[in-house]
């Protein structure tokens, strides 16, 4: 750069005013400085928040800034964030709660559009400097700038579809005009996040640089312009009517494979929006506002917003103990133990993984390497994570561990031996946790000199994909230990759910009657594919028989027996459905043996026949009642027994532990949104014909 005038005009973002003081005037959020070249450096440092979000008042304050700039126009405008964690994370989701009037929402959205339109229309160069995350409305704001410069750690995306809506600040129109439609629509339909370099290749950003060069880059963009990757001809072609129509068909098919229109209207609405109006930016913007207003006031979006806040609630349970977890020792390198160890090492902790001999640990290392290559990608990060995962046959890691997790087979004597040996070597304040799903904590803790040390940390399979972690409190578990367990769950980026120790805790207990009902239906002669289809039509991510095959039929039977014996409230002896016992006796244990309720091909995919309709076949609604009512019934029971702290926790556990139809907001929420009394009556009549599995829990009366 000639003369490099940047050296004389340092313009680092000015820090926000101390948020501890009482703010007398309206919060400003945006802070601006004019430099010697008349470039205006506008910094967003949202008052009173650790993260920048585009709440209504942030947008209003931005409008005020635009008014000021109109009175005193600069040579160029640079928009950046003062917050180290990112640029802008999107809208303030809290503002979506309870919106039910589409017309009012449409007005609000149009006001937002007007502000962003003004930004786009500014008659001088505008540059967005993007550090960290740039999501949703934040990216839409950046799209209204002429140039986008991203830091190498930037993550960009339009994840609105995951909240049951689509972009609503003009993003649908602007992105489809910036980059070719298949890429643009792909981003918006999946809601996925792009890393900086991928964003540049796609044309979403124009340059990627280290943050230390941000000022130079912005100044360059304003004064000289940037060479961009845009392909205007290809992009324009993609927006022609016949192309839109053809692509829309393809997109609809692809979305249908993942989400049903009745459950998740947003992706379909987005495709419709673009197919009908993609030829005209003005029309697209106008209808975007209307479409999002309709979506956001609908049940799915409101329920997904609810799920978003349930997620936040669980995250907040970690507490502020200030405890640091540096070293984790895992005993048992099987599917669960090995994967738990791999996950903890990926989160940055040093992990020692113990088992009887190297041959039992080696496969876990191989699986970990695969996980790290997929998630971490960069070879040096993969290697660093593998360095942190240390095979430890001798158990030398116990003495260094902050947390010891036992994940060996469900044999009481084996676990007792392990606890005795571990207690002798553990640090005095180290946490001892078990991944057991079926042995009561009180029995396990018998051999400890301090039984209050033992808590349950119940992970879900596969560990790398299931965010829920049941933190189980036994009768003897200490408060400090539970608090440590919750903090540890957050330290490894899981969602902790405090649960009282009882057979099956929350998730397995609620799923078991659902699985048993499915087998009962199978025994009655209903085709497996029809049973699973009914559950998926309700919104479960996979049908109960597929789920049982994935978990393992021996485990399902075992859990069923324990739960059955533990809860024969009616005094009747619980009998496992014949279909299940027969398969287990024959050694068909599900996916892991290649056959269960279904046969599995070499890749582990089920070979399913399409369900055929027949005159005497029960309706999907009947099947859904038979499957879901026992599950809902058990949720009510768990709530009544105060296994978890309130209905919201039941919903959170079922959504994050089993994927219970998130668009329905959770089982308890679904009960309240439907007719609880009618459900209870239906249970009573089903119990008469189909047995105690359908006996309604006393809790229905107190809902």
């Amino acid at each position: 750069m000639d003369g490099d005038p940047s050296m004389t005009t340092r313009t680092k973002p000015t820090p926000a005013p101390d948020t501890g003081r009482t703010v007398v005037a309206a919060p400003r959020h945006w802070y601006g400085e004019r430099d010697a070249e008349n470039i205006h450096w506008l910094t967003l440092d949202k008052d009173g928040a650790t993260t920048n979000t585009l709440s209504q008042d942030v947008l209003a304050a931005f409008e005020a800034v635009l008014d000021e700039l109109a009175a005193n126009p600069p040579a160029g405008l640079v928009v950046r964030s003062a917050k180290a964690n990112g640029f802008i994370a999107g809208a303030d989701v809290g503002e979506f709660k309870g919106l039910r009037d589409p017309d009012a929402v449409e007005q609000l959205v149009r006001r937002g559009h007007a502000i962003v339109d003004r930004l786009e229309a500014l008659p001088y160069p505008t540059v967005a400097l993007i550090n960290g995350f740039c999501l949703g409305g934040g990216l839409e704001l950046a799209l209204a700038c002429r140039y986008r410069v991203a830091a190498d750690d930037a993550r960009l995306g339009l994840p609105e579809v995951r909240l049951g809506i689509h972009p609503g600040l003009g993003g649908t129109a602007r992105l489809t005009r910036l980059i070719p439609a298949p890429s643009a629509m792909g981003l918006m339909l999946t809601g996925r996040t792009l890393r900086a370099r991928a964003a540049k290749r796609m044309g979403v950003v124009d340059a990627v640089t280290q943050p230390r060069h941000f000022e130079r880059a912005a100044r360059w963009a304003v004064t000289k312009g940037l060479k961009t990757q845009r392909r205007p001809v290809l992009t324009a072609l993609g927006n022609l009517m016949p192309v839109r129509w053809a692509l829309a068909q393809v997109m609809q098919r692809q979305v249908a494979g993942k989400a049903r229109r009745a459950h998740y209207p947003a992706p379909y609405a987005l495709i419709d929006l673009w197919m009908k109006h993609g030829g005209s930016k003005k029309e697209m913007l106008r209808h975007e506002a209307r479409s999002i207003a309709k979506l956001i006031t609908g049940d799915t979006a409101q329920n997904l917003v609810r799920v978003f806040f349930l997620n936040e609630t669980l995250k907040g349970l970690g507490g502020e103990t200030g405890r640091v977890f540096k070293h984790v020792h895992v005993i048992g390198a099987g599917t669960m133990g090995g994967d738990i160890a791999a996950w903890c090492a990926m989160q940055g902790m040093q992990v020692t993984l113990q088992d009887r001999a190297p041959e039992f640990i080696a496969p876990a290392i191989g699986r970990a390497a695969k996980l790290y290559r997929r998630r971490l990608r960069e070879p040096y990060l993969v290697r660093a994570a593998l360095d942190r995962l240390i095979p430890d046959v001798a158990g030398d890691g116990i003495a260094r561990a902050d947390v010891v997790i036992e994940a060996v087979p469900e044999v009481l004597s084996l676990k007792h031996d392990i606890y005795r040996a571990a207690e002798a070597r553990m640090k005095p304040d180290a946490l001892l946790a078990t991944n057991t799903s079926s042995i009561p904590l009180e029995e396990l803790g018998q051999v400890l000199t301090r039984p209050e040390r033992l808590i349950g940390l119940h992970f879900f399979n596969p560990v790398a994909q299931m965010p829920l972690l049941e933190v189980v409190r036994g009768t003897n578990s200490g408060d400090a230990e539970i608090a440590a367990g919750l903090a540890f769950a957050r330290a490894i980026d899981k969602l902790p759910l405090p649960v009282k120790s009882a057979p099956g805790f929350l998730v397995n207990r609620a799923l078991t009657p659902y699985l048993m009902a499915a087998v009962q239906l199978l025994d009655e002669g209903h085709p497996a594919a029809a049973i699973d289809e009914a559950a998926e039509a309700f919104g479960m991510p996979m049908g109960p028989l597929t789920l049982a095959d994935a978990v393992g039929l021996d485990i399902c039977l075992h859990v069923g027996e324990i739960l059955g014996h533990g809860m024969s409230a009616s005094g009747a002896d619980w009998q496992a459905p014949k279909g299940l016992t027969r398969l287990v006796e024959q050694g068909h244990l599900g996916r892991k043996t290649g056959q269960g309720f279904y046969r599995y091909d070499k890749k582990g995919k089920p070979i399913k026949a399409k369900p055929q309709g027949s005159a005497t076949a029960p309706t999907t609604a009947t099947l859904q009642d038979r499957l879901l009512l026992p599950l809902l019934n058990t949720c009510v029971a768990c709530w009544r027994e105060a296994l978890v702290d309130g209905e919201d926790m039941v919903d959170a556990g079922m959504i994050f532990g089993t994927g219970f139809a998130p668009f329905r907001g959770g089982p308890m929420h679904y009960i309240h949104a439907s007719d609880a009394a009618a459900m209870r009556s239906r249970l009573v009549s089903l119990a008469e014909t189909h047995g105690p599995l359908y006996m309604p829990d006393p809790g229905w009366g107190s809902l």
Binding site: Q350, P358, R383
Partner: protein, 389 residues
């Protein structure tokens, strides 16, 4: 090993690692290892190279630094991954690339491109280059042939020695005498619990069938009576008395003396004799006063040549400054658990391995002192005198 210690890895004063051929992206493997082991940014680390005895050099240097008071605790060892030896572009190819890079503009580049010859693609096998002495133009195996000739060591004697080496290692593995060997886990879910080059079912017939590797067809040194080309690593913690007290450490032994010597590169295999003899002389030891000998088995012929040299009046007088032959070395005290012929010779790490193993042998047999010694390509020898704790 670091997990078992009562101190954190950042307590070391420095890290020294022997390695003959680091990878292109890890030119100071000591530093890379130190950081990956958690020693932290503030612990200095360097890599040392004295051919086949690099792993002995690191231990010796650590010993000298601590003895001098320059350091309290050093992590020392050796490593080598001969399986990663590169294939290199030959010089003509490298020059062609350089010319191409410097040519500006399409016509100039095309002109350079036209000078390419298929012969440029012939690779240079890095490993072969590394095992050849450039001054006397002999590879290591050839130096063994020279010693075999000099001391009249026949093919049968070499094969018999090798057979015994395999037998001893197989027995040691079975009886748990290789306990310091730690399993390796790879990223594909496989693990390796012991050195897998050992052939317990080896036989004179099988060895006899092998053809000479270095001087065909009439030579005597074969792949069967030479060290194996392998990967390996070894680490030792060396500490001063003060550090032992401070951390409450129990040593497995100590380094008492060391010596390095140089000789004719064409007879490099006699290096152990040239390095060990000064240690024996100044400590007033006979060969028998040493309870355990580890003479690195670069080649069976070379080990046998060392023994023959000590039994040879003329050689001892002319080259070792002795009055006459030192005498026979008791084979029952030599390489009791086998050696590089059965275990392999990952060049940078062997020195550290045998220094450590000799201490384990002393512990097991109740011996007092041992010598770990290697011949060094280029014509040197190194030896460490180790004492039981």
């Amino acid at each position: 090993m670091l997990l078992r210690q009562p101190f954190e890895p950042d307590a070391f004063d420095e890290v020294i690692l022997g390695c003959v051929s680091p990878q292109a992206d890890e030119v100071n493997p000591a530093r890379v290892a130190a950081l990956r082991l958690g020693c932290g940014d503030r612990v200095a680390a360097w890599t040392v190279q004295r051919n086949c005895a690099s792993g002995l050099q690191s231990v010796d240097t650590a010993y000298r630094y601590i003895a001098d008071g320059r350091a309290e605790m050093i992590l020392a060892g050796g490593t080598e991954a001969l399986s990663h030896s590169p294939l290199l572009f030959n010089d003509r190819m490298v020059n062609w690339f350089a010319d191409l890079n410097m040519a500006r503009g399409v016509p100039a580049k095309l002109k350079v491109a036209a000078t390419f010859r298929p012969g440029y693609l012939a690779p240079v096998i890095g490993l072969m280059k590394g095992l050849t002495d450039p001054v006397v133009n002999l590879n290591m195996g050839q130096t063994a042939e020279i010693l075999a000739d000099k001391f009249d060591i026949g093919r049968e004697a070499m094969d018999a020695y090798s057979l015994e080496s395999h037998r001893r290692t197989a027995r040691a593995q079975e009886e748990g005498h290789m306990a310091e060997v730690v399993p390796i886990y790879d990223a594909r879910g496989k693990h390796y619990e012991k050195d897998d080059g050992v052939r317990p079912d080896n036989s004179m017939e099988a060895l006899g069938k092998l053809r000479p590797a270095f001087e065909r067809p009439f030579g005597t040194v074969t792949p069967g009576n030479s060290s194996q080309i392998t990967d390996g690593a070894a680490w030792l913690i060396l500490a001063s008395e003060d550090a032992m007290k401070r951390y409450g450490l129990t040593p497995i032994g100590r380094v008492a003396d060391s010596a390095w010597a140089a000789l004719d590169p064409a007879q490099m295999g006699l290096g152990p004799v040239h390095a060990s003899t000064p240690i024996l002389r100044r400590n007033n030891f006979d060969l028998d006063d040493i309870d355990a000998w580890e003479i690195n088995e670069a080649f069976a012929a070379q080990v046998l040549a060392c023994l023959a040299a000590w039994e040879d009046d003329a050689y001892c007088r002319e080259h070792l400054g002795l009055n006459g032959a030192l005498g026979p070395l008791d084979r029952a005290k030599l390489n009791v658990d086998g050696g590089a012929i059965s275990i392999g010779h990952p060049v940078g790490s062997s020195g550290a391995r045998i220094a450590l193993h000799v201490l384990h042998i002393l512990k097991r047999t109740g011996g007092k002192r041992g010598i770990a010694t290697l011949c060094i390509g280029g014509g040197q020898g190194g030896a460490l005198l180790m004492e039981a704790a």
